[in-house]
Symmetry: C2
Subunit: 711 residues, 2 copies
């Protein structure tokens, strides 16, 4: 790569900035430069992979500072302090667990210091003008300042024994929204804000309907002298009626509100039936429809921008690494390997080689821009490396492990009847759990069950290779082991306590009960259809977490406002309830439902993405594939192959010692799911859109997954 | 058309049946034959238009019997008796309005007689073997027989003063499903049945979750000796807990169930939060997703078959009418006109000519098969014929009506300020309605408002041509007039009663109140955005009616079973509630929501159908168009043109006396909406699929709306 090339490519990143490479000649300098380039490219690829959109300083120091900023430890630290900051409300007046004021104030001060430090770090990473233009930074600064002011006022008020309000607590959840990592949350809020105008009109019509019905109710029931079951006057005050009818939409007060009128005349039931039909059924459905429609529309636009930004970052990374040979810019395998090693150090060599095979279909030893660009998406596909290892017992005690008895045990464990037997045990266990545990017979039976579960785990460990059994993706194995071992430990402690002094800790018993019941969940995994549904739920789980944060933000703000409000007055309670209902039920819950709907449809209908299937194809091509639902069977086969592996004559074809399988489409990031949702709707131009003015618009650009062209 | 042709075409309809045309020669016979042919074709087109799928006897007598069967009067009669039959429950023991047993029994007997007569009529219309193969006919026969048996048993039991159960009442709503006209309802039930297996698995998983949580609740809370607010033991019985937690999913008992545990320890709140999160939010969303997805999938298949059947019927009608000239079968304008006149006698000549223009684009005087086929869809597009008529006052009192004062009044009424003024009046009126009407001042003010509203209507009638003002599609004009005139009459009667004897009828007052409040709805029409939402709701209204019937069927059956059940026992109440919740909430309501969602998306996003726009294009081409939102303005222009029409020199271009506009896309039939929903998904082959083996598969077939090809 020529010097001029490199300078140009750096220039396109941040024009006007002094290039780091100013004509040094010594080999150390060149190595340094290569390292700097690689680091820059790695950061760009990593940004593209996780859809980060930060314009960092491209000097080597800037890149390193930025890499530190993105370090997972920093993020864990940040989120820990955000949670501490939010949790402070539990210890503040009116406290669940009261602590002295100075403790909470000091804790909050520490949190604020951490947030400030993180913000200063961010300010060093990105250009100054970018920092001050970004509203989320300004937002954090304002929140910190306001909180400090509030703390000072509140502290001095308390010191002087005056009554003070900690109003800045309302601002705490906003940290969750405004930190750099709150991208998804900000996007969700943005989508809501954009959908608001449409929702507003339907909402106004809904309110109009409620007002009309209330007026009718006032005229129909007001003069009849009806009384409620508590003897109060029924439907005589207009605002009272409006509130009661609004609550009726949620059906929370349905029998109480209707009965007096219904008792007066049967025909008044018609009034309430029509009301519930219009406002509960039709309007709530329309709300869902409008929210769903608008939310989807704006989210699609956001995802489109996301895909575009990702592509731009990958193009920039390619520019940094490219070498021009024969007029065509390309990246060699060696550089690519260095890059991937830097981007994802945990990636196994074999996995990396697989990715290279997918990128470099023609085995030329280098790849062009279009093949390079898809690296970010390739890295997001979870590939599980299945290594067929020999069982340690086979190594230590080969004679015993290969004996007929041992092989019988293995075959027994692998038999379907073994699974069924344990399903029956679980069901019987469920019945025993339901019985009274103070009966000594039943509490003794519990030991039997514990023993049976332990036996199951040990047998499986005997049959399967332990490292394969406890692989990252073996969710149920981990689940079983943790639950059973914890239950064992807790039961032993409990028995020890009881036998020593007859004393039983309520807490430990609670934990034992919860563990026992959780153990029963395992049966879900035995039923094929249940597993499918559960897997779908688990797949959309991470995406649902974003909504969890959204709900936390909204609930926290409402809780804080409500706490202060109800200290002062009890009249505003209704307005507060209605507001809460509007925000949470009509907007947030509907968006949540809309999201679940959409994610489910995607899971049920859309075929696997092109890119992923190209990876799968490659795996199949190389005969390295392990079909997902046959994983256990293939583990068996591996075992048996090894068992029989007394001479090379017996095995007709040597199995490769390394196999891959694509993890069931679990989305590493919410963005992945979103991109998937809108994949069909994104026009090819969005993927091909090239914002660099100097790049020639080559025709290949319009194909999102160019690997397919050459296949 | 040759004799041989005709026989062949009749043969394809029902092979083996003797053809009605056996070689007669006299002109009367030929005329008869033409009439028979036309009648057959008309019935086929009408069947295609309304998506009826009945294989009637094609003999002239059969066709006439079938036409009688489809007569609207017959249907009104049938549905009246179905409603009477359903309403009998109000008068039977346990009665709301008790009637002697013999009255209800005789009424039911009359209903059954009507249903039997209708069924015999149907048996005469269709071939015998078809009749006995159709499960819905068998169903009706069984229901009638069972009901008769039940009536006899019940009657004799009652006569002997024994206790009897009218169990056959449960079967009554099934008439609604099984009559020929219950197509949509049957389709809805079929879709539900097909979606059930998928729903079942999710439901089982949901029940499993509830059982698990119940077990956990039993272990956690059962031994703590907690009591509910009513002092009962809390969470000690497993089945009790299961029921309480199931109800908690609906949030109906949310604070009562949670409070005892929450009072015992704050941390138990986590249990309920997790439970509500999983079961109320996630599972209910998943239910909606699964129901929506499956329902849509199966419905799409049904609609596809519908479109195919429609096309086949049109092809058959074409065969009956076709004449072969130059090797190409075609239908002349004269025959087409006769046909359309017979299919829809109410259609104006101008409207018919417009439809012909759209079909015969090249003005050849005849049309081919593809152009003929679209007639059924063309007839389903509501075209409103706008005739510009002279105001009657202009004819009777031309001097007065054209005077400056009269023209000032007209201009005033047409001014926007007039609308605003009445909006203000409505708002002020709303305030007065809310005030106490026993105050004599306020009751007098009501007269003022009534007068103002009457004045508005009279002024509008003065300005607009009365027949145009009261045109079929002028919903709000009809609404206003009916409400105001009814209120006027009721108020006068009330005043008369009061002044005569000081006596006020509560019923009349109730009616007046309802009318007064309903008047206020008018304000919705003044606000553009509200009108849009309301129109969308009105448009999907007829489709929602199908679901109304579905809900009536389900509720009625549950009500009847519940009534008999609760007479005998009070223990089964919970199982009954859970069943009701499963059927109504989880299945029916979700399908309802799914339907509203889908219909709303269609209204919001899909462009007008191709066929409709071709009609609109034609209207524009012929300069006969009146843009919908400019209708009132164009009426004004017409008025002013007429006002100024003192000499032909003043009007630059004579306006045609007749104008058309496409009614806002309101669906005449539910099928129309469904077809629209799945329009994008229906492949062209579905439209082109030709089941007649003898028709040449011409390449034009693959275009659904062939008019577009020639444009």
């Amino acid at each position: 790569m020529s010097q001029a090339d490199k300078i140009e490519s750096t220039d396109t990143l941040s024009p006007g900035e002094p290039s780091s490479s100013n004509g040094g000649n010594s080999s150390t300098k060149l190595e340094d430069e290569t390292k700097n380039e690689l680091e820059l490219a790695a950061v760009l690829v990593s940004d593209a992979q996780y859809n980060r959109n930060i314009f960092f300083e491209t000097s080597p120091q800037g890149v390193r500072l930025y890499m530190l900023y993105n370090h997972w430890g920093m993020k864990v630290l940040l989120y820990t302090f955000i949670i501490v900051n939010l949790a402070l409300a539990l210890f503040e007046d009116p406290a669940l667990i009261p602590l002295p004021i100075w403790v909470t104030l000091v804790a909050e001060l520490i949190c604020l210091t951490v947030f400030t430090a993180r913000l200063i770090h961010y300010a060093k990473v990105i250009p100054h003008q970018k920092f001050w233009k970004d509203p989320k930074n300004i937002c954090i600064i304002v929140i910190i300042l306001l909180t400090l002011v509030d703390m000072i006022i509140y502290g001095s008020m308390k010191a002087a024994d005056y009554y003070g309000v900690r109003w800045s607590r309302v601002l705490r959840p906003l940290f969750l929204v405004n930190v750099t990592e709150g991208r998804q949350l900000r996007r969700a809020f943005r989508s809501i804000r954009n959908a608001l105008p449409q929702i507003l009109y339907v909402f106004l019509l809904f309110i109009f309907t409620v007002l009309m019905f209330s007026l009718m109710a006032l005229k129909l029931f007001g003069k009849r002298g009806l009384v409620t079951s508590e003897g109060r006057q029924y439907f005589t005050d207009y605002l009272e009626i409006v509130f009661e009818l609004y609550v009726l939409v949620t059906t929370a007060n349905s029998p109480d509100v209707m009965m007096p009128a219904y008792n007066a005349s049967f025909f008044f039931a018609v009034f309430f039936i029509v009301y519930i039909l219009i406002n509960t059924y039709i309007f709530m459905s329309v709300f869902l429809a409008v929210v769903y429609n608008n939310y989807k529309k704006y989210l699609k636009e956001e995802v489109r921008q996301l895909v575009r930004a990702k592509r731009n970052k990958m193009v920039r990374a390619f520019r940094v690494l490219q070498e021009t040979w024969g007029g065509e810019p390309r990246v060699t395998q060696a550089r690519w390997n260095q890059l991937v090693r830097m981007v994802q150090p945990g990636l196994s060599n074999s996995h990396r080689e697989l990715l290279w095979c997918v990128s470099d279909v023609d085995k030329k030893g280098y790849i062009g821009k279009m093949a390079f660009i898809q690296l970010a998406d390739l890295l997001n596909i979870q590939v599980i490396t299945v290594k067929s290892r020999t069982h340690p017992l086979q190594n230590w005690l080969p004679g015993l492990y290969s004996s007929a008895a041992s092989r019988f045990i293995c075959r027994m464990v692998l038999h379907k009847a073994f699974v069924y037997a344990y399903d029956v045990i679980i069901v019987v266990n469920a019945v025993f759990i339901g019985l009274d545990e103070e009966n000594s017979l039943i509490s003794n039976v519990e030991w039997v069950f514990l023993g049976l579960y332990m036996l199951e785990i040990l047998l499986k460990l005997y049959t399967f290779e332990p490292r394969a059994f406890f692989a990252k993706h073996q969710f149920w194995n981990w689940f079983d082991t943790i639950i059973v071992v914890s239950a064992l430990i807790a039961t032993i402690i409990n028995s020890a306590l009881r036998s020593s002094g007859g004393y039983t800790s309520r807490q430990i018993l609670d934990i034992i009960f919860i563990l026992r019941v959780l153990r029963l969940i395992r049966i879900v995994d035995s039923i094929e259809r249940f597993r499918t549904i559960l897997n779908t739920l688990i797949k959309i789980g991470p995406a649902i977490l974003t909504f969890g944060q959204l709900i936390i933000v909204v609930y926290y703000i409402f809780a804080m406002v409500g706490m202060e409000l109800f200290k002062v007055t009890h009249v505003s309670a209704r307005i507060f309830f209605v507001l809460f209902h509007i925000v949470v039920v009509i907007i947030i819950i509907n968006i949540f439902v809309a999201f679940v709907l959409e994610a489910f449809f995607v899971e049920y209908t859309v075929a696997k993405s092109d890119l992923q299937s190209s990876l799968e194809k490659k795996i199949e091509e190389l005969e390295l594939g392990v079909e997902q639902d046959k994983l256990e069977n293939s583990l068996i086969e591996d075992m048996e192959t090894q068992d029989n592996d007394l001479g090379p004559s017996e095995t007709t074809k040597e199995k490769p010692s390394l196999m891959f399988r694509i993890a069931s489409r679990r989305y590493k990031t919410v963005d992945g799911l979103l991109q998937k949702i809108f994949e069909a709707d994104l026009s090819p131009e969005d993927n091909a859109d090239d914002e660099d003015p100097d790049s020639p618009l080559n025709p290949d650009c319009s194909i999102p997954n160019p690997v397919y062209d050459s296949i």
